[in-house]
C-alpha cells in the first residue's frame, strides 16, 4: 500500500490557472505525530537510562 500526502493546497481560477493556496492541512497530523514520537522516544530512553543507573 502506498500512502500519498499533498504538501500544498492549490485552487484553479476561472481561467483554469493553478494557484498556490497554502500548506496542506493533512500535515497537521504529521507535525503532531512527529512531536509525540519524539516525546515517546525520549520518555522511554530516559526511563531505561534511569533504570540502568539504579541497577
Amino acid at each position: 500500500m502506498v500512502l500519498t500526502m499533498e504538501l500544498f493546497r492549490y485552487s484553479r481560477n476561472a481561467w483554469g490557472q493553478t494557484t498556490l493556496e497554502g500548506v496542506s492541512f493533512e500535515l497537521f497530523w504529521v507535525f503532531l505525530g512527529a512531536a509525540l514520537a519524539v516525546v515517546a522516544i525520549h520518555a522511554v530512553v530516559t526511563a531505561l537510562k534511569s533504570r540502568k543507573a539504579k541497577s
Binding site: 481560477n13 494557484t19 493556496e21 500548506v23 492541512f25 503532531l32 512531536a35 516525546v39
Partner: protein
C-alpha cells in the same frame, strides 16, 4: 524572597510568557480546528489573538534589547562542548542561565513567531477590520499563496514546538523550571545542581 531562593524570571517576563502562551493556543485552535472539521466563527478571535501576540513579542524584543542581558540567550564555544559531551555520552558542562536546548527552543520560537506575525499582518488585508478596508489585490495570487504557505508552515511547526515544550516543562526533573515560570524563583540547590554559578547567579 528568602535568601535560599534566587529570581529566575521577573514578574513582567512571566506575564509575557503566559500571555504569549494564551494567544498561541488561541491562534492554533482557531487556525486549525475549522480546517479539521470544527466549524465556528474563528476569524475575529484569530486576528485579535494575532495582534496580541504581535504586541507582546514587540514588547519582549524591546525589553530583551534594553533591559535584559540577551547574551544569556546567545551561543558560545561552550555549546560545542555540550554537543560533544552529548555525542560521547559524557557529563555535559553546566550551562549559564539557559541550557542549549532552552536557547534552541527560544530561537525556533523567535523565527517562526516572526514569520507568522509578518505574514499574518499582511493577511489582515484580506478582511475588513475596524480601522481598515479589505484589499485582496494588495499582492498577486502567487505572492498570497507564498504568504499562506509561510503562515501555515509556522503554525504547523508551533504544533510540534508546543508539544515538546509542554513535555519538557512537566518532566519531573524539569518541574522547577515550570515553577520558576509561575512564581519566578528557583532554589540555590537547584541552581548549583543545574547551572554554572560562574555563568549565572543572582549576583551576575
Amino acid at each position: 524572597m528568602s535568601t535560599d531562593r534566587i529570581e529566575r524570571h521577573a514578574a513582567v517576563d512571566r506575564a509575557f510568557h503566559w500571555v504569549m502562551a494564551t494567544s498561541m493556543f488561541a491562534l492554533l485552535i482557531t487556525g486549525f480546528a475549522p480546517k479539521l472539521g470544527l466549524e465556528f466563527d474563528w476569524i475575529l478571535i484569530h486576528w485579535v489573538a494575532g495582534l496580541l501576540l504581535t504586541f507582546i513579542v514587540l514588547a519582549h524584543i524591546v525589553r530583551a534589547l534594553f533591559w535584559q542581558g540577551f547574551k544569556s540567550m546567545w551561543f558560545s564555544a561552550r555549546d560545542l562542548d555540550t554537543v560533544t559531551a552529548l555525542i560521547s555520552q559524557h557529563p555535559e558542562p553546566k550551562p549559564g542561565k539557559y541550557s542549549l536546548a532552552q536557547r534552541l527552543m527560544h530561537h525556533a520560537v523567535t523565527v517562526f513567531s516572526l514569520a507568522a506575525i509578518v505574514t499574518g499582518i499582511v493577511m489582515l488585508a484580506k478582511i475588513d477590520g475596524p480601522f481598515w478596508t479589505r484589499d485582496p489585490y494588495l499582492l498577486s495570487a502567487e505572492t498570497w499563496g507564498l504568504f499562506y504557505v509561510i503562515h501555515g508552515l509556522a503554525g504547523l511547526v508551533f504544533v510540534s514546538l508546543i508539544v515538546l515544550h509542554v513535555y519538557f516543562a512537566i518532566r519531573p526533573e524539569k518541574l522547577f523550571y515550570l515553577r520558576s515560570m509561575v512564581f519566578g524563583w528557583i532554589t540555590r540547590d537547584e541552581l548549583a545542581a543545574n547551572h554554572d554559578p560562574a555563568l549565572w547567579s543572582d549576583k551576575s
